[in-house]
Amino acid sequence: MHLVYPVVLAALLFCTGLYGVLARRNAILVLMSVELMLAAVGLNLVAFDVWLRDELRSGQVFTLFLIALGAAEIGIGLAIVLLVHRERGTSAVDRLRELREPRGTPRPAPGEPGEHPTP
C-alpha cells in the first residue's frame, strides 16, 4: 500500500484535532481533540514503520506506548475536568478566570492624597 494514504489521513486527523483544541471551549471536547492528535501520531508511526520495514518495529512499539499514554492522559484529564465541573459548574475553558493575572491595580494618581505621606 502506498505510504501517502495513511499519512494524509493522519495529517487530516491531526489537523482536525488541532482545530478542535484551538476552537473548542468545552474542556472535554478539547480533550477529545487531543486524543485525535495522538491517534494521528500513532497512525503515522505505524505507517512509517511498515514503510521503513523497521526490523526493530520501533514505530509499532512506540505506538503501543502512545496508546497507554493517551489512556493515562484521558484518565487524568477527565478526572480534572469533572473536578472543575463540580467545583465551578462549568467546563468551558475560557470561563475559568480565577487565576488570571490581576490586571492594573489602581495606583493613586499624582496629586491625590496618599502618594506623598506628609510626616
Binding site: 491531526f14 484535532g17 483544541v21 474542556a27 478539547v30 480533550l31 487531543v34 492528535m37 495522538l38 494521528a40 501520531v41 503515522n44 508511526l45 512509517f48 514503520d49 514503510w51 521503513l52 523497521d54 526493530l56 520501533s58 514505530g59 512499539v61 512506540f62 506506548f65 502512545l66 499514554l69 493515562a72 492522559e73 484518565g75 487524568i76 484529564g77 477527565l78 478526572a79 480534572i80 475536568v81 469533572l82 473536578l83 472543575v84 465541573h85 463540580r86 467545583e87 465551578r88 459548574g89 462549568t90 475553558v93 475559568l96 480565577e98 487565576l99 488570571r100 493575572e101 490581576p102 491595580t105
Partner: protein
C-alpha cells in the same frame, strides 16, 4: 544468538528505587491505620534519599543498559555524567519538595467515608450530582476569592496519593535524562508530567483544579505536537535511538528532507513547552498559584529540569546536524523567555494576593530563559562546555529556588494570602530565615554574596559569548540586570522594619527548617566552591 538483554540493575538504581518506593507508599497507605499515616511521608523521603544514594556507586562511570543485542553500541539507557547530574538535581529537588510537603500532608483519614481513588480526585460522593449546579458553585468561588485565595492552608493534602504521585513523577524525571531513545524519552517525560497534573489539582477546594486543567490542556497539546514531530523524525531516520537519528537523519531520503526539518522543529516545540519557554509559558503563573506551594516548587525545579534535559537530549543528542536550524530558534526562544518572565515578574505588585507565588513563577520563567542559553550555544560550539554551564546553572537554580519556596511555604503558614508585603520586617523577627531567603534571592539574581548564582550566570554568559551569540549574550546580560530589580526589591523588603500590628511570623516547623537549612548549606557550599557545580563536563551525548 542471545536474544536477551543484559540488564545493568545498579545503573537503573535511581529510577527503580523511586518507582519501588512509590509502590511501597501506595501499599503502605492501604494498610496503615489512620493514626499512623504520618509514616508515609517518612517512607517517601527515605525512598528519595535511597534513590539519591544509589547514584554514588555510579559516579564517574559511563554505564549503559538496554542495548540492542545486534548492536551493543545502541542503548536505551545510559548513566553518564549528564544523566547522573540531572538525576541528582531531580532527586534532590524532589526530596526538598517532599520536605516542604511534610507539614501539609495530613492523615488522609480525616474523611473516612470519602474515598481517594487512584487519580486522587475522581471520586464523587454519591450526592455529587447535586453539586454540579452553578448555584451552589458560586458562593464557594466567592469564599475563595475574598479569603486567602491561595491554595495554602485550605485543608491538608491526602497523604498516600500525594506521596505516590510525587514519587512517580520523580521516577519519571529520573529516568528521563538517561533515556537514549525517543520512546523512552517520551514515556519518561509523560511519567514526569502525568502525576504532576494530579499533584496540582490534589487539593480539591480552591483554585487547584482550575490550575490543573490549564496545565493539563496546554501540556497535553504540546505533547501531541511534539509527538507528531517525533513521528516525522522517525520517518526520516528510521530509528528512535538518538545516536542513530543523529547519524541518519541528515542523510535521509531527500524527498523527506522537509519532513525531517518539520519534525525537528515540532519536536523542539513539544519540549520547549515543558521548559515553559515563550510562547508556551502562560500556564506557569496560573498553575503555580493554584497548586499547593510545594508542588509549585517541585514543578519549577524538577519539571523544568526534566524538560530541559529532554530538550538537551533531543537537540544535542539526536539533532546535532541540525544545529543551524534549532540553534537560532532556541536562541530567540531563550531571549524571549527571559525577557517575558522578568518583565512580568517586575510588574508583580507587592500587595497583590499570591504575589509571592506569581513572582516566583515569573522569575522561574526568566530563569528558564537563562537555562536555554547554553542549549542554544551548544549548537555552535562543542556541546560539552555549554552543557557543563547548563548543569551548573540548573543545580544552582534548583537549590536556591527551592530554598526560596521553602521560606515561602514557611511564611504561608501564617500569611495565607501570600503577599509580598508579608515579608516586610522578617529580618527583625526571624533573622536566620530572612538571611537565608536573602541569600537565595541574591543567588537567583546573581549578586554577591550569592556567588553560586553569580558564577552560574557567568558560565551561562560565557557559553553564549563562546558560541558567538553576541546579541543573545547582551539580551541575557540586560535581563540579569532587569531581574535584579525584583529580587532586590524582595530582599530589601526583608530588612525593612516590621510594620506595626502585623502578625508575627509562624513558628518554624522542622521539615521546612530542614529544607531551608539544606538549601542554604548547599548554596553556601556552591558559593565557596563553585567548581562543585561548574566543573561538570558531560561531554558529548551519545
Amino acid at each position: 544468538m542471545n536474544a536477551l538483554q543484559d540488564v545493568d540493575w545498579p545503573a537503573l538504581g535511581p529510577p527503580l528505587i523511586a518507582a519501588l518506593a512509590a509502590v511501597a507508599v501506595l501499599l503502605a497507605d492501604l494498610f496503615l491505620p489512620p493514626a499512623r499515616k504520618g509514616l508515609l511521608g517518612g517512607l517517601a523521603v527515605a525512598g528519595l534519599v535511597l534513590a539519591g544514594l544509589s547514584l554514588l556507586p555510579l559516579r564517574g562511570a559511563d554505564r549503559a543498559t538496554f542495548c540492542l543485542a545486534a548492536d551493543p553500541g545502541l542503548c536505551s539507557y545510559r548513566a553518564d555524567e549528564f544523566a547522573l547530574t540531572v538525576q541528582l538535581i531531580v532527586l534532590g529537588g524532589a526530596l526538598l519538595a517532599a520536605l516542604l510537603s511534610l507539614p501539609e500532608t495530613g492523615p488522609a483519614s480525616r474523611h473516612p467515608a470519602a474515598p481517594h481513588p487512584a487519580s486522587g480526585k475522581a471520586a464523587a460522593g454519591n450526592g455529587a450530582a447535586g453539586k454540579e449546579t452553578p448555584g451552589t458553585g458560586a458562593p464557594k468561588r466567592d469564599a475563595s476569592g475574598t479569603g486567602a485565595s491561595g491554595g495554602a492552608g485550605e485543608g491538608s493534602l491526602p497523604g498516600g496519593e500525594f506521596w505516590f504521585l510525587l514519587l512517580c513523577s520523580a521516577c519519571g524525571a529520573t529516568l528521563l535524562p538517561a533515556a537514549r531513545d525517543l520512546a523512552t524519552l517520551v514515556v519518561a517525560l509523560e511519567i514526569t508530567t502525568l502525576p504532576a497534573y494530579a499533584l496540582v489539582g490534589l487539593r480539591r477546594r480552591g483554585p487547584g483544579p482550575e490550575a490543573a486543567l490549564k496545565f493539563f490542556l496546554t501540556s497535553v497539546t504540546a505533547t501531541a505536537v511534539g509527538l507528531l514531530g517525533i513521528s516525522f523524525v522517525y520517518a526520516g531516520a528510521g530509528s528512535l535511538h538518538l545516536s542513530e537519528i543523529a547519524e541518519r537523519l541528515p542523510d535521509a531520503d531527500p524527498r523527506l528532507a522537509t519532513l525531517a526539518e518539520a519534525g525537528v522543529v515540532l519536536t523542539l516545540a513539544g519540549f520547549a513547552f515543558k521548559t515553559a519557554a515563550v510562547p508556551f509559558h502562560f500556564w506557569v503563573p496560573e498553575t503555580y498559584v493554584g497548586a499547593p506551594l510545594p508542588v509549585a516548587g517541585y514543578l519549577s525545579v524538577v519539571g523544568k529540569t526534566a524538560g530541559l534535559a529532554g530538550l538537551v537530549l533531543v537537540t544535542t543528542g539526536a539533532f546535532p546536524g541540525y544545529g543551524g536550524l534549532w540553534g537560532p530558534v532556541l536562541a530567540v526562544l531563550a531571549a524571549c523567555t527571559m525577557t517575558a518572565g522578568n518583565a512580568a515578574a517586575l510588574r508583580t505588585p507587592a500587595a497583590a494576593p499570591d504575589g509571592v507565588v506569581r513572582l516566583l513563577a515569573w522569575s522561574s520563567i526568566g530563569q528558564a530563559g537563562y537555562l536555554l542559553v547554553p542549549v542554544a550555544a551548544a549548537a555552535y560550539t562543542a556541546p560539552g562546555d555549554a552543557l557543563g554551564a547548563l548543569l551548573g546553572y540548573a543545580l544552582m537554580y534548583a537549590v536556591t529556588n527551592l530554598g526560596a519556596f521553602a521560606v515561602a511555604a514557611h511564611l504561608a503558614r501564617r500569611h495565607g494570602a501570600r503577599r509580598l508585603a508579608d515579608y516586610a520586617g522578617l529580618y527583625a523577627r526571624q533573622p536566620g530565615t530572612a538571611l537565608a531567603l536573602a541569600f537565595f534571592l541574591l543567588c537567583l539574581a546573581g549578586l554577591p554574596p550569592g556567588l553560586a548564582g553569580l558564577f552560574a550566570k557567568v558560565a551561562v554568559l560565557r557559553s553564549a559569548v563562546d558560541a558567538g551569540l553576541g546579541p543573545l549574550a547582551v539580551v541575557t546580560a540586560l535581563n540579569v540586570a532587569l531581574a535584579l530589580a525584583y529580587y532586590l526589591r524582595w530582599t530589601a523588603l526583608l530588612f525593612r522594619p516590621a510594620p506595626a500590628g502585623s502578625p508575627a511570623p509562624p513558628r518554624p516547623v522542622p521539615p521546612l527548617a530542614a529544607a531551608t537549612a539544606l538549601c542554604a548549606l548547599a548554596g553556601a557550599a556552591f558559593s565557596v566552591a563553585p567548581q562543585l557545580i561548574l566543573g561538570l563536563a558531560p561531554g558529548v551525548l551519545r
